[in-house]
Amino acid sequence: MSTKLKDYWIYPAIPAVPGVIGLAVLGDFTLQAVVAAVVVLLAGIAGSVLLVKKHTADTESAIKITLAEAEAAFKEEAAVYLRSLKTLGSDVMPVWVRHVETGRSQMEAAIIDLMVRFSGIVEKLDAALKASEAASVGMDGGLASVFVSGEKELGAVVSSLREAMQHKKAMLEEIHGLLHFIAELEKMAIDVAGIADQTNLLALNAAIEAARAGEAGRGFAVVADEVRKLSTLSKEIGNQISKKVMVVSAAISGAVKTAEQTSAGEAKALDASETSISNVLGNFRQITDGLSRSSGILRKESDDIKNEIALALVQLQFQDRVSQILSHVRDNIGSLPDYLEKSQAEFSRSGKLEPVASGNLLNEIAGTYATAEEHSSHSGKIQTAPIASEISFF
């Protein structure tokens, strides 16, 4: 700043000019009056010059003092500001870095836990499906096979029972035929009794004839008596045979009657069993069909869930991309304090305020980019993460 004469001459001229004009007018423009006026004018000019010089000197002195004070104050403020930046780098940014890292690591831990749980769901689904399939497919080819086998075996049982009933019926008929022989036996017993009676009569006649013959017929009388005893015995045996035959006949008739009643009951029971077996097999078929359908639905649902989980796992890979981006930001924030410290050191050394090399910082983080969206974000464009993977074979 400098003080110029032309800027200040007007102030001493204000009293000087009227003085000069006054002297000249009052002195009637005589030589003395004009000289006096010129002297006054020159004195005014000289006073102006001295005033300006003095003012300039005082002003420059004041400016120097002010500048020195301002420079000292600025240096102090700049030092404080740079120290605050350094503090920002040493105290604040590490906190940011730790927060970013905490968020990144917590997200990674949560995603891993989520993945493990998804994996567990898939494993449990597989186990449930295998157990279900083992239940429906096991036992030599599954429930359908078991059903067919059971139906065949139960049919064979019913056939065996029917065959046994036929045999039983034939046997009963044969037993029934025995009654005819029993009747013959009864007639034969009666015949034996009749023969015994006639023999007894003959023996009696022989005894009479023997008695009539006297001493000569005594031996024949003994024979006739023995024959009579035999005929009596034969009649008793014939009667006993007849009684036994009647007992046997009654027993056989009773047995046949009982067997016929039993057979009728058995036939009804067999028919009822056959109906029950058919009903049971029908119910069993419904169950097996239902189980088969359920198994199919379970398998399909399981496959659908597994596919959904596979898609979820694809989506969860965002964590890796986010983790990488956060790591790059974290590292870049972490390197900023060095830049701030260099700036402060340069100021301390040379007193110059060097700007922070933000270009270098940007180049540094750009060099770490791995994803396409990082490059896009860097240049201010918005790009979403890819959904489908690219595969190149070499």
Partner: protein
């Protein structure tokens, strides 16, 4: 006997996703968290295929593939790169190192399994 696949990725969640997909298809899975860790797993045991990330700490995927191909036991083991990198430069570097396929994340399990089935050693 199930075939063994080595999965190399610094992201535990990605290793989990790949593991779930592969185990579900009946493969045995070994895991490594970076290239250096993966090289320590290549100790003579039979590994039928390797799936590796590219950007990893300690040793990146391209260096790992290069080093793995120097080992006689694993010279012919097929390697699939699984990465977020889709740039042609990195892809060419992977091919030059000896990788057989390049899969960009996120991967679809059926596509990954198809690639594994196509490349895995008998």
């Amino acid at each position: 006997m199930a075939k063994t696949i080595l999965v190399v990725d610094d992201s535990a969640s990605l290793r989990a996703v790949v593991g779930i997909a592969l185990k579900g298809a009946g493969y045995d899975v070994l895991e490594a968290c970076d290239g250096k860790d993966a090289l320590s797993k290549l100790n003579g045991q039979k590994i039928h295929l390797i799936i590796s990330d590219v950007n990893m700490p300690n040793m990146d995927g391209i260096t790992f593939v290069t080093e793995a191909k120097k080992l006689p036991d694993y010279k012919f083991t097929p390697i699939i790169m699984l990465t977020t990198e889709s740039g042609e430069g990195k892809k060419s570097a992977g091919q030059a190192a000896g990788a057989k396929a390049w899969v960009v994340k996120p991967f679809q399990p059926p596509q990954m399994l198809a690639a594994v089935s196509k490349l895995i050693m008998p």
